[in-house]
């Protein structure tokens, strides 16, 4: 673990240089502990693949005090209080079809696989939520099977419909709102990913795991899915 100053009330905690389950586990564990032990000081935490950006209240602690507190929180002995939710798995229903999977055919062609094979490969994997960013609730999930990996679209779409499930390289993600985007879209979830009027706000957090479940058109509609472009 490495702690580096960024500005007068922000520091960066690095946990490694490789994207993967090991760093993700350390980030998740440290995020939980910082929240548990330092809620009095912390203004914002931005966990990502291998790091956590920590912004704190300068009125309460200087940069030396914060390093001590961060180290103490992260190095503290396990007391079990933050381990309970470490294995949260979120299941997301996805309607995989050309009708909403705007790039499904391109992905099949690029992979040299049938639609059913692409869907099976995409939905049988358990994904790690590595980071959230780009837009509110936009979760970067990894990693997809190499067989269905595909580069981003050369020209991004101006509007990617809400709920779209896309692939970029070996990452996959859901667009929580209608935004521009260049990921290859293979399906759509009827599940609301963010809801600022609910208590949960965002469905997935960094450190969660996600599994996709293929659903039919009827089930998609039953669950409140929207077939419109936007």
């Amino acid at each position: 673990m490495r702690i580096e100053s960024v500005n007068e009330n922000t520091c960066m905690v690095y946990f490694g240089d490789q994207i993967g389950a090991e760093s993700a586990g350390l980030v998740k564990r440290a995020t939980d502990r910082l929240r548990r032990d330092m809620s009095d000081l912390i203004v914002d935490l931005v966990p990502s693949y291998t790091s956590i950006l920590v912004t704190w209240d300068l009125e309460q602690a200087d940069r030396f005090a914060i390093v001590r507190r961060v180290r103490a929180a992260i190095d503290s002995e396990d007391d079990g209080s933050t381990e309970g939710d470490s294995a949260r798995i979120v299941e997301l229903p996805v309607y995989y079809d050309r009708e909403v999977g705007l790039d499904l055919e391109d992905v099949c062609e690029h992979a040299g696989l049938s639609r059913d094979e692409v869907v099976r490969i995409h939905s049988e994997q358990l994904y790690q939520v590595y980071a959230i960013g780009f837009a509110p609730g936009f979760a970067y999930l990894g990693s997809t099977d190499e067989r269905i990996a595909i580069p981003r679209k050369s020209t991004p779409r101006l509007k990617v419909p809400t709920g779209s499930v896309g692939i970029a390289g070996t990452q996959t993600a859901i667009y929580p709102s209608c935004t521009p985007g260049g990921w290859q879209i293979i399906g759509r979830t009827p599940q609301k990913m963010v809801d600022w009027d609910s208590d949960s706000l965002a469905l997935v957090q960094v450190g969660d795991q996600v599994r996709f479940r293929a659903i039919s058109r009827d089930e998609f509609l039953e669950l409140g899915g929207n077939l419109d472009e936007l």
Partner: protein
């Protein structure tokens, strides 16, 4: 009690100190582009420091007072007038029922802050009214809209008028050449000595491409040894260097994470000074450190507590 927006101008936004505590969900902070000006406006009125204000960019903003009130104007001098009489920034003013307040065109600086005694009372979304259009959060109705003609700006019953002002020597000069200290950090070490020298000796020009997300600069291209990095959290004031080598200073509406190398970061107060400069102005950088930034901020926070002439 309320004001009515007659003309919204190019960009007038409801802002408080920012939407904090949601960046892990990808929700940016928003908040005032110039913290120095914002906090002083509330302080002059004896408001809570994070009380909602209007951030006016470029001017051409007009309102009518439906009720009398005590207001404070800070930040850029956008040629403010009450009933066509010029009024000075960095002080409180009394506004009567039926009065018209206009912000005309920039005399100095780019963004003005309009605070009212007691603070405006917009909807709160995720604990803040900071307007972030891209996210559809904040503003009067909580859905991220900028102010529009006919909007009603409500506020609590006004307190009696108190004349308060920031002493002249403390008023920032937004026309002075801007030279900002960079706190080395993030991928600073991935910029070779030659690249750093270039960065610290170049006069960068502020491009046309500036908004609340970022300030794109034009000048000597600099390059990191790294092509890209593993995406990580972006602090306010971070200086990102994309492949074309032209630095971008990330401002209040920045994305929460990103994968470009960063040569370092500005302090919040320095980022606020940059936010008062428009396209064509120049800015240069020198190597500073976090101790300097921390010290200056602590002094500022202390200074705010001390108050100013007339401040209760």
């Amino acid at each position: 009690m309320s004001f009515e927006v007659l003309e919204p101008g190019m960009l007038a936004l409801v802002q408080d100190a920012g939407r904090h505590g949601y960046q892990h969900m990808g929700v940016t902070t928003g908040g005032p582009m110039d913290e120095f000006a914002f906090f002083w406006a509330n302080r002059l009125l004896g408001n809570d420091l994070d009380a909602p204000q209007i951030e006016i960019t470029f001017g051409r903003f007009s309102l009518k007072a439906n009720h009398e009130a005590c207001i404070a104007i800070t930040g850029g001098d956008l040629g403010a007038r009450i009933n066509d009489q010029a009024i000075a920034p960095w002080r409180t003013h009394h506004i009567n029922k039926g009065d018209r307040l206009d912000f005309t065109t920039p005399v100095s600086g780019l963004r003005a802050y309009l605070a009212v005694s007691g603070g405006f009372k917009p909807a709160m979304k995720l604990g803040s009214c900071a307007t972030v259009a891209r996210e559809g959060l904040g503003g009067l109705d909580g859905k991220g809209a900028k102010l529009a003609k006919g909007d009603t700006l409500e506020f609590e019953k006004n307190a009696s008028f108190v004349e308060a002002f920031l002493p002249e020597p403390e008023v920032p000069d937004y026309q002075q050449h801007l030279r900002l200290g960079v706190i080395p950090g993030y991928q600073y070490r991935s910029f070779s000595i030659v690249q750093r020298e270039k960065f610290f000796s170049c006069d960068y020009e502020i491009s046309q491409n500036i908004d609340r997300m970022g300030y794109r600069l034009k000048g000597d291209a600099i390059h990191s040894d790294l092509d890209g990095i593993i995406s990580e959290g972006i602090a306010y004031g971070a200086i990102q260097v994309p492949k074309d080598g032209q630095p971008i200073v990330l401002m209040k509406d920045r994305q929460t994470i990103g994968g470009y190398p960063k040569i370092g970061c500005l302090s919040a107060l320095d980022a606020g000074l940059l936010a008062q400069r428009g396209p064509g102005s120049s800015v240069s950088f020198f190597l500073s450190d976090v101790a300097e930034a921390e010290g200056r901020r602590m002094l500022f926070n202390q200074r705010l507590k001390t108050g100013a002439p007339g401040v209760r």
